[in-house]
Symmetry: C2
Subunit: 459 residues, 2 copies
């Protein structure tokens, strides 16, 4: 009779953490301020007020260690949270590794990823501030789905500009947004000045995240009852995601485990920060000492190949300037299947932690990641989104290293979403049509250097 | 501050039931035997041995009250089981009903439905019997996905014939099957005599479930190392699904609830039977007295409009004869979006329970079901598969009735899967292009009567 193995470590709803953790309180050194692009001076609340409610602006700059989660947000979180932590017994067996691999799974959420963790409180605080509608951009559609669901919880409208190329090629996400009650426009649209200007110049434009942001911001800025919401990069977004790491700490404690290595994928940084920040707090307090490793795609390697400099958050250059690891705000990455990782910059908080050697980073080619994703699906029964296959590939790499050294390391992986709506990417991989980045480092460095010459000279 | 509401009732893995419940042991009257179409005599194990391993044949006819679940099956079950039971607080609030609505959610499984509950033990028992490959048919693809995953757990091959129309129109399911390591052919194929005969007559055939069964059975029958697997209808399939009801009983007991009404959708009957059979045992033992209601689509109403007669399980007339509620084995239902409910007959066990007044049945039009599905998605955060929206529509109907009468009934609903790969059906509903069945009862009755004239005269 085989040994009885526990696959899932669950928390009761009564064990759901009731506070978010603010890493700003405990950073060994403070991060550089966000600057106004016109004045070069730190931005104040009044600069952000046209787009965001004051509660979120306060969270963006707060240095309090914890922020209480409103009961009305906790009630929605409990639809799927606490999310499960899994021990990957069957993956370990397939790898014949002495390592113990755990994964924190966010795919149980309404959108199928970690994004609702911040969409729900953002909608809630806007509703409290009297806002009746939120606008946003979305690329592949995870963030748009999450915000549409969140708005439905508080009887708000949600209007979304989706990059035309994704709108046409990935219709399932649009359908899910509409099922949750959101409205989706392909971007560029004729509904905004920004969109009309683009269409006048190029009627066949397939759009970009930068154009979609411009359209969503334009609509929000014109109406005091409408605000804009962002799904990653900003401090308050990463704050909301720390519910992931707080739960994982409780779950590992239940089975008496302390992680030796944490791995997560990084696009804008919110999934990674959400899992890692509470563990960094534990490390700074001397209670554990895990290696914390970000995994980014070789096609868009902002941490490992980018420059640490002040840059815009959007392609069009409308946002405040943030000091971050960037490939240049007009850098266009090779098309890869992990749409959520195709961002030119990195969250200022994650960038600061990398710059100060609190975390490390590696880049992975996508065929290695899909291979790990297929192995994971066949052993653990979950088809992962392409984004977290980057984390899985790094976990598999470490587990194989452990097989060679005999180390029984504890590896904690951020599995930030399922891949049910990304199956065409798996089909492409299985038929051999997924390719790796062909550029060499010098070519990439030249492209980045050129992009950076177009930055304001503030850094 | 709002009241803290518990949304999920969870079980630890240590609470996972270790036995399946066999309703045959407790039936007030025994069901009619399965007959050999050639002799008209009850079939014996030797008739089934070319396709199924002896362990499953024994389960098909066993009258033991319980069957122990093998530890190797429990280890795979624990990847997702016990599955959660939810209290639908937010749906109740939207309906302003005093009813308490619970739903048992099987969408957390690798395939996203209840089907792996039987795919895993079927693969296991075949592997134990020395079988190295399983064949099957699949329509929309849920069953094929489940069997591909199950075969991957025991290092077996899985070869699937998918109805050509679904193969072409619903490519995501094929992609998921291949991600789990299965092989998919469109049916009719040129790989079998049955397929070649169809293609010779009609090169553009879009196939049918009956043709796909013929192809899968032909390949399995020719090779002693290859067997065939079926995903619904048969006694051993429903036996395996009783894990759902056993868990739900434990979960309701945790919150001190006894159901007044159980509702589940019925196609072949395995999801419905899986949840209901353990509750029928409790009723027969005098421990509760719930109403048990099957919900079928108006486009394929085998229980409410069909005849109780001996009929073939497949369209081509290759299977043994089963006494069941049937619309005639060559009845072709209107196209509806709930592919899993488009079956001409009903499991003999469910049919027998209906005939003996142990359960009741209603038929629902699909627009009412999609309306319930959209309401459910926006309140509970889960996009249901089209099939269980039939159960949700019946639950909503009862909850509204309770609002009018003031009754605080406890309603338990079988939510047998998510609709992530069915989003085009929601898009069609939201744009108004989903239509209800237009035939009147007399037209349907005439079609059924005609189909039944082609049956063997055994009943």
């Amino acid at each position: 009779m085989p040994e009885v193995k526990q696959h899932k470590i669950l928390l009761e709803e009564s064990e759901l953490p009731t506070r978010w953790y603010n890493v700003l309180h405990d950073l060994p050194t403070p991060p550089p301020p966000v600057l106004h692009p016109g004045t070069g001076q730190p931005v104040g609340p009044e600069d952000l007020a046209p787009l965001f409610p004051m509660a979120l602006i306060e969270q963006e700059v707060s240095t309090a260690q914890y922020v209480d989660i409103p009961p009305e947000v906790l009630d929605v979180y409990r639809l799927w949270r606490p999310s499960p932590l899994f021990r990957a017994h069957r993956l370990e067996a397939a790898l014949q590794t002495p390592a113990r691999i755990y994964y924190k799974y966010e795919g149980v959420s309404p959108a199928g990823s970690h994004k609702p963790n911040t969409a729900v409180p953002q909608a809630y605080y806007n509703k409290q501030a009297g806002i009746s509608k939120l606008t946003t951009e979305t690329g592949a559609g995870q963030w748009g789905t999450s915000l549409a669901f969140a708005c439905a919880q508080y009887d708000m409208e949600c209007e979304i500009w989706q990059v035309r190329a994704s709108y046409d090629q990935k219709p399932y996400r649009k359908m899910m947004i509409e099922t949750f009650g959101g409205t989706v426009h392909p971007s560029p649209s004729d509904l905004t000045e920004a969109g009309r200007a683009i269409l006048a110049a190029d009627p066949d434009s397939t759009g970009s995240l930068g154009i979609a942001i411009s359209e969503a911001v334009e609509v929000a800025a014109q109406d005091p009852t409408v605000n804009y919401a962002l799904g990653s990069v900003l401090n308050h977004v990463l704050l909301h995601q720390t519910i992931i790491g707080e739960e994982a700490l409780l779950q590992l404690a239940k089975v008496g485990e302390t992680p030796d290595l944490l791995v997560g994928c990084t696009g804008g940084g919110s999934n990674f920060g959400g899992l890692m920040f509470p563990f960094l707090r534990e490390r700074w307090a001397g209670r554990m000492d895990p290696v914390v490793r970000a995994v980014e795609p070789s096609a868009c390697p902002s941490l490992t190949q980018g420059t640490y400099a002040y840059d815009f958050g959007d392609t069009a250059g409308m946002t405040p300037l943030m000091k971050m690891h960037t490939l240049g705000h007009d850098f266009v990455p090779d098309p890869i299947h992990s749409g959520g990782l195709r961002y030119h910059g990195m969250s200022p908080l994650i960038s600061h932690l990398y710059e100060t050697d609190e975390i490390e980073a590696v880049a992975k080619q996508q065929t290695e990641c899909f291979a790990a994703g297929v192995l994971f699906a066949r052993t653990e029964g979950i088809v992962p989104a392409p984004e977290p296959t980057h984390a899985l590939a790094a976990a598999v790499e470490e587990a194989i290293r452990c097989r060679e050294t005999g180390e029984d390391k504890v590896i904690l992986t951020a599995l930030c979403g399922h891949g049910h709506l990304d199956l065409p990417a798996y089909a492409a991989y299985l038929e051999g049509s997924v390719t790796d980045t062909s550029w060499d480092d010098s070519e990439l460095q030249a492209a980045v250097a050129q992009a950076l010459t177009r930055l304001p000279q503030l850094a």
